[in-house]
Symmetry: D2
Subunit: 359 residues, 4 copies
């Protein structure tokens, strides 16, 4: 009943803490026969890795993936695919000083309330280091989706007041904030560095596109595709909101503005606009799936903050250590992983929708 499993058919279970022996993931339900290698996984892990640039934490982790089971002769066997990354740069001594302090914006207080005590070293399980397992599993999901030409791309849409105006997917990996608008990327970087110098941090918005998704994915009424994607993205550290298509802007629109007209072209049905973000009634339409989520400014800041000790005494805290001043850039590969995992799960579930396709 603890919530460490995601997906119903393509099911992943992550394990591991920030400063324990390692982090990992077990994938259940990956069909047999998929060619996969540790290299396929490593590529995605390297995008998530720390120490990539001046806008990410300087914690040094190689994040070397190791397959423990489920692959034989270079192919998945249909049995659980277990993967692990050892924690190498897990110096926890600096956390000794804050082990009795509740860091504002962090899960220290709530973990203590829930479990009665906590692994205070680097946030323990609440650390974003847990997402290593998600990204590793996501790499497998991406490889499956690729067989159907489904691709998932995410990028930084906004940091502070700076919003990308042009979307050039080729730009994304060329700048350190992973923004598809070259010019805006520079402004974003300046903004982040300015705040970092002040010992502060900043929030941002990430947009995720899923292209090539066939119509039919999603399981109403609760496991709608948008509902499951919302959960997937909200389950990431620091995320405070998710929207699809026109999103919150729809509050001010009328039905005649927001409805997407259907038309037919080349024997296929499309919509003239995509305010639905590729999902109607919780089921994919075949148009691009478009989602956005907001990440709050990193909670770990050097600025002095008011807080209390575990026994309730007044205290102040300055969170030293190695922290991303803005999590958007590193949230990009993690978000892609979560969306890919959600899509492959629904792709497999949808295989069972029609009698005539099965029997």
């Amino acid at each position: 009943m603890s919530g460490n499993t995601f997906g119903k058919i393509f099911k992943i279970s992550t394990w591991g803490e920030s400063h324990g022996p390692g982090v990992g993931v077990v994938i259940e339900g990956c069909p047999a026969g998929l060619p996969i290698s540790e290299k396929d996984i490593q590529k995605e892990l390297d995008r998530r890795r720390t120490g990539q640039s001046k806008v990410t934490t300087s914690r040094k982790e190689k994040d070397q993936i190791r397959f423990l089971s489920g692959v034989f002769q270079g192919k998945t066997t249909g049995t659980p695919l277990s993967m692990m990354v050892e924690n190498s740069d897990a110096d926890s001594t600096k956390y000794e000083t804050i082990k009795d302090l509740y860091r504002p914006g962090h899960a220290d207080y709530t973990y203590d309330m829930k479990y009665g005590f906590r692994d205070y070293r680097g946030g323990g399980r609440s650390s974003a280091r847990e997402t290593v397992g998600r990204v590793a599993a996501g790499a497998v999901a991406k490889k499956l989706l690729k067989r159907k030409k489904i691709t998932v791309v995410a990028y930084t849409k906004q940091i502070g007041p700076h919003i990308a105006k042009t979307i050039d997917l080729k730009e994304i990996e060329k700048n350190i904030v992973r923004c598809p608008d070259k010019k805006m990327a520079e402004k974003m970087i300046d903004h982040v560095m300015k705040l970092r110098k002040r010992g502060d941090s900043v929030g941002g918005v990430v947009e995720v596109l899923a292209m090539g998704v066939p119509p039919g994915l999603g399981e109403p009424v609760f496991d709608r595709l948008d509902a499951d994607l919302a959960k997937a993205l909200m389950s990431l550290p620091a995320v405070k909101g998710v929207e699809v298509g026109s999103g919150f802007a729809a509050a001010e629109l009328t039905g005649s503005q927001n409805n997407d007209a259907f038309y037919s072209k080349g024997g296929k049905i499309h919509t003239r606009t995509n305010n639905a973000g590729g999902i109607l009634g919780g089921i994919s339409t075949g148009e691009d799936i478009v989602m956005r989520f907001v990440v709050k400014p990193t909670s770990s800041i050097l600025k002095e903050q008011e807080t209390v000790t575990a026994s309730g005494e007044k205290a102040t805290i300055q969170v030293e250590g190695r922290h991303d001043p803005c999590v958007s850039p590193r949230a990009v590969p993690i978000a892609e992983a979560m969306v890919a995992l959600t899509l492959i799960d629904h792709y497999l579930r949808n295989q069972l929708s029609q009698v005539d396709k099965i029997f």
Copy 2:
């Protein structure tokens, strides 16, 4: 693997279509011994009912609840609680004319793609009529939560450009848009009626508060309380976005602005602000849980729209019939139900968090 079940311990399964024999819900996992009557359920169903005012559809449904199992001598028995509402005003003849047309913004096209055919009468399963089962189950959840003084309240925060400025919970049920700001309610009503007359509709934002929630609810890393609440709310018809606490506004905030400082008062730990919306690291903090979601403008509009037939031929459509011009007001009791269901599920799950409290 179809997605008609919600919750892991307090688990509900809804069934039923807009124009079939009826709609209902089976609750599994409600503990034994809760005093409950059909009246407790009816009260909530009456808030969701159609035909309540000029801003809701005129479809006439009494929505009379009937217990089918799970209650004996006025108390839950611990076995499945099955409830049903017969569909009484289920005239489907008017849907004959559109059975081959895809209504823009509706699930007609996607259901056809997924299942190979569909129940076209009133949207079949994709109809908001399905939420009768959610509200009925939510009434049971609310009764359980009440024993711990946990209450859930929702209200219309925004319709079109009109945003509530004051939050007076006593005002909510006094106006037909369920807005906690009396003055703004009038503007909202005018706005809705103006658009209705034009054959159009409008979107809105609903805010949900959960008060009295103890710290500790939520199961990281995937079943975080905010992730499950996001899924719960995104699973409602017409919802296009969800946020918690500072939400999308956090993109422009800095860590020092957004972090909530801890302080201690009367032996309890609180936060000075509540940008977290009552949830840190996916676990409740004990502060009020604050969420918002956006509903798109109703897709059924009288205005002529471009569309295609099931065979892909160009067509136009005007959706006549009985439709809410704005779904916010009726979304209020449904949202409360979904939040109550999520909370009771997590309340029960959290009972199993610590060895010393169990053994």
Copy 3:
């Protein structure tokens, strides 16, 4: 977390008590497009019905099935299929006298211990009346299996000391104990009637065959086909043991006796014997699946028995009322339903085993 759901993809949830308003079932995950009518269900329910003969209880129930959702134009829609049977002969007055007594062999005591109180009318939820929902759902499963020429047949193998020696499937429905050995059937009937006259009851063994099952069904290591079938059958009232293939006899066999040699015929691989009962390593081999289960003698007997009251006082009890003196005959259609439900679930799960068959 209460255990009223069976299956992972083709998932059924039963509800209802012996003397409440009715009993029913919701099927989730039945693919869309299966032609189905209430008649298909009624046929199976009539086989399970009470009052069929002198060896079954005289309780009169028509068990008229009613579809509540999930079927449109004579076909399943892919949405939940809800079915219900109203309880018509639910006179509970005779249970008033035993409401504070624990009937030996029944669940009265354990339900009280678990839930704090119980619906004492006819055993409430613990009544075999609950199996109406299983048989109704099983009828749908059978119809799906039939498309692949998979059939499930059960029969009484043993009652008391009388064991069927010949297996003539055409005989089964011709005698009231559902024994495939005509001669032995008569002895069984005599045995049952003799004990009934003495106010006693008797146990029996039911054998279930599943024919036409393709190789590959079953999900090691926990959801092995035999493990799931064992659970399915052990979940039936009165069942005290389950075995597959050579079963308990294997304790005295050697490997060279018990192993089934492989051979090839007409391009297909078979085994010379079937001690495995059609399952190896938890996966179907393509040979007939052969299982047996034992039902204990009916607990409700007229003979005086020692017991206690709910408050622990010494008492005696004679259980009057309408009871089957041997449950084997009526267990036959219920067992078929459970096996069919298990097979269809695994059939659907197995659709997702190989990448090359999906992508």
Copy 4:
């Protein structure tokens, strides 16, 4: 949807193959605060280990457990407990010769049918080596149960024609067949050795007792305690049948013989006999839980057997290598683990049965 997870609240997922890098398990849902060390686990693994005596395989594995996550300062943290054993004696060269042959009684053929190919080294995932993970997780379950004085003990009841007549629990670990009847143990050992010399193997029956189980565990109607225990035991390699209490013998009993009379003693309700095996209506009665299961004779035998190649050609096979001539003795600790895992899961589930105990 692959079946590598067991339990609903205390949930384990095993992974690993016979000749891959290692085997392991992830436990989700273990409450926080349980003192646990690798030693606690090792003790149980050592009982399961190979190479213990002349009646077990000579494969040499130290089976050294390593905690990867979920434990901090010697206590469980409430987050996933990941454990791993590296495979050290994984010489797979001898399997090269049989990689295209289907070993009778093994899962070679069925894995090929299901997954399209298989890891032929030592049976891959179908190897009993997978049970390392079960035993490791079972050790945690046992430690939790111990807090409530619930103990689980298994022993060899029968090997070939030799059936234990006396049950002296202190004898079990004193002889290499784990039989509680000292004299019969010798006969069993002779029987096994005689067959081993002939290149053959033999079956057996294991009995499991769970003592100190409180009344109330079990979740009717599908997740009855006996149904879940049956599944747990049938999911073990080589098991062909399971029974509870009077079991298959009940077929010949009458109700008056088989019913257990209730009586009261010291304020507690007991039964005079225990034909129910400690479970009524799927819920524990408080009496000892008594189950038995049969293991087939080991399929790997030196005797020449008829078989086919993967392409269907006629062949003969002699399975050389290191195999247990009778699996009963090593099934004992594995069965205890499965029963302990089932009980702790139901213990936790039962915590949520009554409103008045929760709220």
